[in-house]
C-alpha cells in the first residue's frame, strides 16, 4: 500500500477541480425518493385493499378487470389486471425504498405492516358489506324492507312514493307525490314483488339509497291503496321477493 495515499487523493482533488456536491441536491433527491415511496406505497395499499375487497365480495379474480380504458396494450387485457397492477406497484415501491438506505432500514417493516393492514381492512369492508346485505335481504332487514324502511335509518331518506313517468331497463323516472322528479337506478339486484309488472303511470314505492335526485333502488313495488300511499303499509307484501327487472 502506498504511504502517500493522502497526498495522491489531495492532488487528484486539486487537479480535477473536484468540489463537494451542494447539499440541496442531496436533499432534493432524498425528498423525491421519499415522496415516490409514499405515493407508490399509498397506491399499493389502496389497490391491495380494493383487490381483497372485490375478491372477498365476489369470490372471483375475474372481477379485478380495470375496464376498457386499461385494455391497451392487448396483453394487459385480462381479468385480474388490478392484482397485477398492485404487485407491480408494490415491487416498485420497495425498489425505490431500497434506494433510500436509512428509510429502508427504518420503515420497511412498518410498510409491510401497513400492507397487512390494507389486506385486513379490505376483507373487513367486504365482510361488513356482505353482512349489511345479508341483514337487509334475509335477516331482520327483510322485515324492515317490507315496511318501506332501510337498515340505515327507517324511512329517513330511504323511500319515495310516486308515479312512474318513464322507464328503461336500468333507469326509471318517478314523479313523487310531493312534486319532485326522481331518477331511479335499477340494477339486477333491485327487488320486485314476485311476478309483478310495473307499467308507466303506476304509483310505486321506491326504497334505496338517495343521492340528490337519484335513487339507487334496492326495492320497488306498486302502491296498493290509500293506506299504503299514506305510508302505513309494508314495503312488500308477504309474497316472495325476487331481485331483477320485472
Amino acid at each position: 500500500m502506498d504511504d502517500n495515499l493522502k497526498q495522491k487523493i489531495l492532488e487528484q482533488i486539486e487537479e480535477q477541480h473536484l468540489e463537494p456536491t451542494p447539499g440541496w441536491r442531496f436533499r432534493l433527491v432524498r425528498a423525491l425518493k421519499h415522496s415516490a415511496v409514499a405515493v407508490l406505497f399509498a397506491l399499493t395499499a389502496l389497490g391491495l385493499a380494493g383487490s381483497v375487497y372485490i375478491l372477498v365480495q365476489n369470490g372471483t379474480l375475474d372481477d379485478l378487470r380495470l375496464g376498457p380504458r386499461w385494455a391497451h396494450p392487448a396483453f394487459f387485457d385480462f381479468p385480474w389486471q388490478l392484482l397485477v397492477l398492485v404487485v407491480v406497484l408494490g415491487i416498485l415501491s420497495f425498489v425505490v425504498l431500497r434506494r433510500t438506505a436509512r428509510l429502508y432500514r427504518v420503515a420497511r417493516w412498518w410498510l409491510v405492516a401497513a400492507l397487512v393492514v390494507a389486506v385486513v381492512a379490505g376483507a373487513c369492508c367486504a365482510y361488513a358489506t356482505n353482512l349489511t346485505r345479508f341483514t337487509f335481504r334475509a335477516g331482520p332487514g327483510q322485515e324492515l324492507f317490507r315496511r318501506g324502511g332501510n337498515p340505515f335509518g327507517g324511512m329517513m331518506g330511504g323511500a319515495v312514493i310516486g308515479v312512474v313517468v318513464s322507464r328503461t331497463t336500468q333507469r326509471w323516472v318517478v314523479d313523487s307525490l310531493t312534486g319532485e322528479r326522481w331518477l331511479v337506478i335499477v340494477t339486477e339486484e333491485t327487488y320486485f314483488p314476485s311476478g309483478s309488472d310495473i307499467p308507466v303511470g303506476t304509483v310505486v314505492r321506491v326504497v334505496g339509497r338517495h343521492l340528490k335526485t337519484t335513487i339507487y333502488a334496492v326495492g320497488i313495488r306498486p302502491v296498493t291503496g290509500m293506506d299504503d300511499m299514506m305510508g302505513t303499509g309494508d314495503m312488500m307484501g308477504p309474497e316472495i321477493l325476487v331481485p331483477g327487472t320485472p
Binding site: L5, K6, I13, L18, P20, F26, R105
Partner: protein, 192 residues
C-alpha cells in the same frame, strides 16, 4: 482508532472538509489503513489502493450528503465495500478474499475451541480462507465485518444497509454455512 481529546471528531472534520481540503486530508489519514486492509480482504492487495482512492474521491464529492445518523467510519466502509464489489464484478466476476486469520478468528469461524498446533493451524487457516471464498457474497461480507474487522452489529447494519436485528441471525447462518463447507472438505477434517 485512538483520537486524542483535543483532536476534532470525524463529524467536525466532515463539516470543515466542505470548505477545507486539509480537513479532508485528516480524515484520509485516519481511515486509509483500516480501509486499505478491508479493501484488500475484499478484492486483493493489487487493487485495494485503487478502490480506497476511488472511495475517498467519491466520499469527497458526496460530503454534503453525509448522513449524520451514521458514523463516518461506517459511511466510508460502505463506500469502500460498494466500490470494491463493483470493481470486482467488472474485472473478475467474483471477489477473491485474501485473509490473514489469527487463532482466535479461526476458532470463531470453525467453532472449534481445540486449536491445533502451529503447523496445522496454518493449514486450517488456508482452508478457512478457501471456505470463505466459496461462500455467497452476503455471507462472506457479514463474516469479514463481524469476525475479521470486529465491527459491531450496528456498524455492520450501517455498512451493509440492513436492519440491525437481522445481523445477528445472518452472522450465525454464515458461520453455519462455513462450517458445513469445512466439514465437507476431507483434507480439512484430517487436519483437525
Amino acid at each position: 482508532m485512538e483520537i486524542r481529546a483535543q483532536e476534532p471528531t470525524d463529524e467536525q472534520l466532515v463539516r470543515q472538509a466542505l470548505t477545507d481540503t486539509d480537513a479532508f486530508g485528516m480524515l484520509v489519514e485516519r481511515y486509509e489503513r483500516p480501509l486499505s486492509s478491508y479493501a484488500a480482504r475484499l478484492i486483493g492487495r493489487q487493487e485495494a489502493e485503487d478502490v480506497v482512492q476511488q472511495a475517498f474521491l467519491q466520499a469527497y464529492r458526496s460530503l454534503a450528503g453525509f448522513d449524520p445518523h451514521l458514523t463516518f467510519s461506517a459511511w466510508m466502509y460502505r463506500i469502500v465495500h460498494n466500490t470494491a464489489v463493483n470493481m470486482a464484478r467488472k474485472r473478475h466476476g467474483t471477489v477473491p478474499t485474501e485473509l490473514e486469520l489469527d487463532g482466535e478468528m479461526v476458532e470463531i469461524l470453525t467453532g472449534d475451541t481445540d486449536v491445533p498446533a502451529e503447523a496445522l493451524h496454518q493449514e486450517l487457516e488456508g482452508f478457512v480462507a478457501q471456505g470463505l471464498n466459496q461462500l455467497d457474497q452476503r455471507s462472506r461480507d457479514i463474516l469479514l465485518l463481524s469476525v475479521v474487522e470486529g465491527k459491531s452489529y450496528s456498524e455492520i447494519a450501517d455498512i451493509l444497509m440492513v436492519a440491525v436485528n437481522s445481523v445477528g441471525p445472518s452472522v450465525s447462518r454464515a458461520k453455519d454455512k462455513l462450517r458445513k463447507l469445512l466439514d465437507a472438505n476431507p483434507a480439512q477434517r484430517s487436519a483437525l
